[in-house]
Amino acid sequence: MSAKRQFRIWRGDETGGDLQDYMVEVNEGEVVLDVIHRLQATDAPDLACRWNCKAGKCGSCSMEINGKPRLGCMTRMSTFGDEETVTVTPLRTFPVIRDLVTDVSFNYEKARETPAFAPPADVAPGDYRMQQVDVERSQEFRKCIECFLCQTVCHVIRDHEENKQAFSGPRYFIRAAELDMHPLDARTDRKEYAQAEQGLGFCNITKCCTEVCPEHIKITDNGIIPMKERVVDRRYDPLVWLGSKIFRRGETPQTSVTTARQGSATPGSARGGVHSHAGGSHDPQAEAQAQSGVNWHREVPHPTAPAVDDRGRLPLTELTFDRAAAPSPFGDDVTFPLPPEHLNFAHPDQDDKH
């Protein structure tokens, strides 16, 4: 059973190109890659396209089919309507080499920057002992076939070339997670590395990577979120947060985020509590201070990429917290909208009062 189907395929190179129309025979049970092979054997012998195993195991034939990042060998033609035009384009996030082939060297560079497995110093080969339940967490990430679909779909770099320097992408977050969860890996700083060097903080958990993963790895839920959580655990530890409610301001045990800024304290910070978001606070002292005007010399926390999800919530684990939901990143005692007089806003035409 075969029929002619309409295909639009991007042809060109780094200097430019466009979609070209092809009418091509399609048989029952075929996948998009079969159709591309038929085109190569007939109308377009020089159509460039990567492929290897044709079984969804090597991750070579990544392309965008009707705008969606897919593996050509795993996209059955039966998933399209009979009259539907199938549009095939190269991965958008990477520079085109020719036709459907892109320069994916970005990924190999990031792979090279990720510190390798560190074998335990005192265990001889053959003496490694691990429980199945302990290796399974890392094994999930080792299923990765490096098709780079998660990399191409990630909006942090998909249309933001400038982020590529600082952002390794989901593939390498799960590599870090895999090593972090490896029962015998000798390094202990995998999450800190992911936050500081891989740009984990850029990720705002839209889960696009999980959606396109042909191996169905739960990249976000099992890899990225646990990594973020543990980074967050340190930066926004609920005990530290609770401590800040019990101790008087100024005596609060500082988390690493704030201590980093304390060193460069300005004169204004000598007054107690000035580093807080005084806005909706019920602290009378801060309230009074807010009412008396804005202190422009107060120290505000250094802006960091928010470790929050797409609804603005901290993905804190419920087990270690006293409530069923994550706390507000602004502090639970802040209600919105803030009274206008509490806003730390200076009109451009207004002089600094202090």
């Binding site: 049970g29 190999y108 090279r112 390798a116 080969p125 080792r142 490096e146 890996d185």
Partner: protein, 642 residues
């Protein structure tokens, strides 16, 4: 015009052609020996065909059954190869594979575990004890990723020491080698092109390791990727090396036959190891009818006994579904020819009715996933349709067992993995290829490094040889009168699939040789449309030459060997012939023509042949060899009595 062609030049100590398991392991070893090493990969780094290996890596670690040891593994390997194996390779392989597997753990590999935390081992066709270290059913991927990451880790060391990741080991991805360059009888370098740009590249290196894999793309139904065009086999031949055992091709018994787009993709043997059975269209479990006499003792005769084996392997014999691959492939072929096949021309592989849905999904996750995604078949609910598919070539470069150095009249050439021959004899056991890659990859890399060390002066690349290589490479682009390379490939696949396939006949083989000669004329005139940048048509046109010469070797050797053994089945000579066991068929190039010579097999050492009982040897050896064996046993007996 060749004088104006730009050629990028590189100097290395060791060049490894191929970035699968064997190539990467060889490169790691050469780099650890301090050599400046290049890895040439036809695809992207980490995409090699090794990822397709599902079952596992065979190594007699004895983690699951403590009675396993290297002697038992050696015996199984020789038995599987029908005693045609190079015994020394089988011995080294059995002895060294456990160390090679443990070593992978130090690189970061995470195998499935036993209850006491050791590497778990699973049953597999032809292995007496559970022996295959595995990771679900994606062991090949784990192996390639582990080696890839080890190379990255070595590059990170070099970055710290020399300030460059590429200081001592560099991967040239999407690069194809078209010619080896010689200085007299010594390897001097390798010439090829970047697939991306079509620019030429020349490596000057005294030692080259071939690790290019197999030849499956010459067949219509194959599990092999496009890379498997016999490049290493052909490069070796043209450099003056020899190939052995080229008549032996393994047809995996259970490849998918439906839907057509995934025809040839393998269904791992573990489906059978974990309880799957083969049935014909009458619903009969037919493998009981196909147990050959040599295996009668080890295999169950009733379904009840076979089913008990899964839970109590010590007191029951194995189910016949776990016979060596060639036996299963032949049985399926016979059922289909007798009209008892499935609608798509295969048979049914049923695990759905025998194991619970959760258990199947847990034990065979990627199998389940693959069928669901590719074919919309739920293997936990319905049987699969399977049939024989071209899977592995036992034949390859004739090498020195200990060093992997190629025989023939060339020095500085090494081979490891599927491209080398001898290790697997006439038939490879499942799981032996992954351990083969590691054991002989390490050996070839190490010996290539010490060969490079031992040279007084570096061989020189001759300018005219480079010019000739450039001309050959550009020729298809400069012709516009020849045929389309895709048509030629299809014709070649048709000849090999129809006439030199799983069951062979004298008339058909002779016919195949005539057609291959015609194809040779056509391939010499092939033309490729388009330019040099990432042009798959041009790439194929260059690969065709290799596929053709390797196909000629296979057809010639298959015509010569008048018996059936392992991966070579002659309908006109159905029996295994002890006299033929003493003979290897050796291919070499004489000008442009393939020349075939006979060479006696090396004789097994007494302590190794003593591992077998006489009754078993009786099925394989000639009367004279058996008399020798009896004398040996008598001598040993006397020595004991003294």
């Amino acid at each position: 015009m060749t004088t104006t062609t730009r050629i990028e030049r590189h100097h290395y100590d060791v060049v490894v052609i191929g970035a699968g398991g064997a190539g990467l392991r060889a490169a790691i070893e050469a780099r650890l020996a301090g050599k400046k090493t290049a890895i040439i990969s036809k695809s992207l780094f980490g995409k090699a065909h090794t990822v397709m290996a599902e079952g596992g890596a065979a190594a007699a670690m004895g983690n699951v059954n403590s009675r396993d040891n290297w002697q038992v593994h050696f015996r199984d390997t020789m038995r599987g190869g029908k005693f045609l194996n190079n015994f020394r390779m089988a011995e080294l392989h059995a002895k060294e594979s456990p160390q090679r597997i443990w070593e992978l753990e130090t690189y970061g590999a995470l195998f499935d575990r036993t209850k006491d935390g050791k590497i778990s081992q699973r049953n597999f066709g032809g292995h007496e004890y559970p022996r295959l270290a595995h990771v679900g059913d994606r062991t090949g991927l784990e192996l390639i990723r582990t080696l890839q990451q080890k190379i990255v880790s070595l590059q990170q060391e070099d970055q710290r020491e020399f300030g460059s990741y590429d200081a001592r080991i560099k991967v040239f991805s999407e690069t194809t080698i078209t010619e080896l360059l010689l200085d007299g009888d010594r390897v001097a370098g390798a010439f090829g092109y970047y697939r991306e740009s079509g620019e030429f590249i020349l490596f000057e290196a005294p030692a080259v390791v071939l690790a290019t894999g197999g030849v499956g793309r010459s067949y219509k139904v194959t599990s092999n990727s496009w890379e498997y065009t016999g490049d290493g086999h052909a490069l070796a031949l043209r450099a003056g090396a020899t190939l052995i055992n080229m008549e032996f091709l393994q047809f995996h018994p259970t490849g998918m036959v439906w839907p057509p787009s995934v025809k040839g993709i393998l269904v791992t043997e573990s489906v059978r190891g974990d309880g799957g059975v083969l049935k014909n269209s009458d619903g009969k479990r037919f493998m009981f009818d196909y147990v050959p006499d040599v295996f009668r003792k080890q295999y169950a005769e009733t379904e009840e006994e076979a089913d008990r084996w899964y839970t109590d392997p010590d007191n029951n014999r194995r189910p016949p579904e776990l016979l060596p691959r060639d036996e299963v492939a032949r049985a399926i072929n016979s059922e289909v020819k007798a009209g008892r096949g499935s609608p798509a021309g295969g048979v049914f592989l049923d695990i759905a009715s025998r194991r619970s849905s959760e258990e199947i999904r847990r034990r065979l996750p990627s199998m389940y996933h693959q069928f669901k995604e590719l074919a919309d078949v739920d293997i936990t609910a319905e049987p699969m349709e399977v049939g024989p598919t071209c899977h592995y070539v036992m034949g390859g470069v004739e090498v020195d067992p200990d060093s992997g150095a190629a025989f023939g009249h060339v020095r500085g050439l090494f081979a490891a993995g599927e491209v080398s021959g001898g290790m697997h004899g006439s038939n490879r056991l499942g799981g032996n290829s992954l351990s083969d890659l590691l054991v002989f990859g390490k050996r070839a890399g190490g010996h290539a490094a010490s060969y490079a060390d031992g040279l007084a002066a570096r061989p020189k690349v001759a300018v005219d040889a480079v010019e000739a290589a450039v001309e050959t490479a550009l020729a298809p682009l400069q012709r516009d009168t020849g045929e389309n390379p895709y048509t030629l490939q299809q014709d070649l696949q048709a000849v090999m699939g129809d006439l030199v396939g799983i069951i062979r006949r004298e008339g058909e083989l002779a016919d195949a040789l005539v057609r291959l000669a015609e194809l040779r004329e056509r391939v010499a005139k092939v033309s490729a449309f388009g330019g040099r940048r990432y042009n798959p048509g041009w790439h194929l046109a260059l690969d065709l030459r290799n596929m053709l010469v390797v196909s000629e070797c296979t057809a010639k050797a298959a015509l010569e060997r008048q018996e059936s053994r392992g991966g070579h089945t002659r309908e006109d000579y159905p029996a295994m012939e002890p006299k033929w066991r003493q003979v290897n068929l050796v291919c070499s190039l004489d000008g442009d023509n393939v020349r075939l010579t006979r060479k006696p097999l090396p004789k097994m050492r007494p302590e190794l042949i003593g591992l077998f009982d006489r009754a078993e040897l009786g099925k394989y050896l000639t009367d004279e060899e058996l008399a020798d064996f009896d004398a040996l046993v008598a001598d040993a007996g006397e020595a004991d009595n003294r």
